[in-house]
């Protein structure tokens, strides 16, 4: 009886003939993997959080407005400013709230520039002649640059303007100010960054 049953039973390998090698299957899986990879990449980028206090400040290149260069350089990178505290201010000529802080920033620049503090204004989504007219109107002298391609504001995930990042000598973000800065804030944070 047992022998009879064994005789009539076949193994799964014998039941199913081996499938021929198919390029279409490879293409199918390659397409699935590619789509999943791109979707994952998009998801990661979408959920990329804004740089927080205690994290390294994203580095960037800037091409300064004529007459508003830093250290006589027409272009610079944040890495070039390593060793100096940096006050990175996002603003725009169409921004009403920015008008309340521009003079405060200029006065702080004049006060702390000799201590090696770098003030860098980044004009966000602004029309260049309007930016220059604004800086002239307010008598601004500290370095300024346009946010070309909005690359810098995207890296810093700004929520609007004005917004200011205080970056220490080691390139670490020490404070993020959403909205206008004031004199008291600058006189508290900048000496702290200089002391470290």
């Amino acid at each position: 009886m047992a022998e009879t049953i064994q005789d009539t039973t076949t193994t799964p390998a014998e039941d199913k003939p081996r499938r021929p090698f198919r390029w279409s299957m490879i293409a199918l899986w390659a397409a699935v993997i590619t789509i999943l990879a791109v979707l994952a990449w998009g998801l990661i980028n979408t959920n990329a959080s804004r740089p927080e206090v205690g994290q390294s400040a994203p580095t960037f290149d800037v091409e300064f407005f004529d007459g508003y260069e830093w250290d006589t350089r027409p272009v610079a990178n944040l890495e070039d400013m390593r060793g100096h505290p940096v006050v990175l201010n996002f603003w725009a000529s169409w921004c009403v709230e920015c008008r309340y802080e521009t003079d405060v920033l200029e006065q702080a620049w004049l006060k702390y520039r000799e201590d090696g503090v770098v003030f860098l204004g980044v004009a966000y989504a602004d029309v260049e002649p309007n930016s220059i007219a604004y800086m002239k109107d307010f008598g601004v002298t500290f370095p300024h640059a346009p946010d070309l391609g909005t690359d810098i504001s995207q890296d810093y995930e700004i929520t609007g303007v004005p917004e200011t990042f205080f970056i220490d000598k080691d390139g670490v973000i020490r404070h993020v100010q959403i909205g206008a800065v004031d004199q008291e804030m600058l006189d508290t944070l900048i000496p702290q960054m200089l002391a470290d």
């Binding site: 009879t4 791109v38 725009a92 989504a125 070309l148």
Partner: protein, 164 residues
């Protein structure tokens, strides 16, 4: 005769005086409709997903004036859109140029998705076609299910009795 000469001179002076006015009028002749024809393909940098032509913010008013200036300078619509993409990023255009990440995400990925869907659909159809004849044909009855005719006969009788 002298009066005629004087008249011609006055006309000439008046015509010459009109030249700068004509040039100015040419610059200022860009209508809002012409500006908005370009502005509708640009998004506001401040408001989410709002075209420039309908956005009331000052930032958009500034950008519309920039478009007007560039049209007055003789720049084409494509040149202006290219300027905006270079200056403010591809994200401000409603129809981003086919390059970099936008080329992959907005153009290649959907095409790849459609091809993948077609491939899967064709495989599904092929599988259904194969399965249909197999299901329709009656399963061949084994000559001897157990290999022992006596046992087969016994099982057949038991099944018949159960059926009855």
């Amino acid at each position: 005769m002298a009066g005629k000469k004087l008249f011609r001179l006055i006309i000439l002076i008046l015509l010459l005086g009109l030249l700068p006015v004509a040039a100015y009028a040419q610059d200022g002749n860009i209508t809002d409709d012409e500006v908005n024809a370009v502005a509708k393909d640009v998004y506001c940098p401040v408001c989410e997903s709002t075209p420039l032509d309908v956005c009331p913010t000052q930032a958009c008013a500034d950008w519309r004036e920039l478009i007007r200036t560039k049209l007055a300078e003789g720049q084409s619509r494509d040149e202006i859109l290219e300027y905006f993409a270079r200056q403010y990023g591809d994200g401000v255009l409603s129809n981003p140029p086919r390059r970099g990440a936008s080329l992959i995400v907005l153009w290649l990925l959907p095409v790849l998705g459609v091809l993948l869907g077609l491939l899967l659909f064709s495989r599904l159809l092929r599988g259904l076609r194969k399965a249909a004849p197999e299901a329709a044909a009656p399963a061949p009855r084994p000559k001897s299910p157990t290999g022992d005719p006596a046992l087969d006969d016994y099982i057949a009788r038991v099944e018949k009795e159960i059926d009855e």
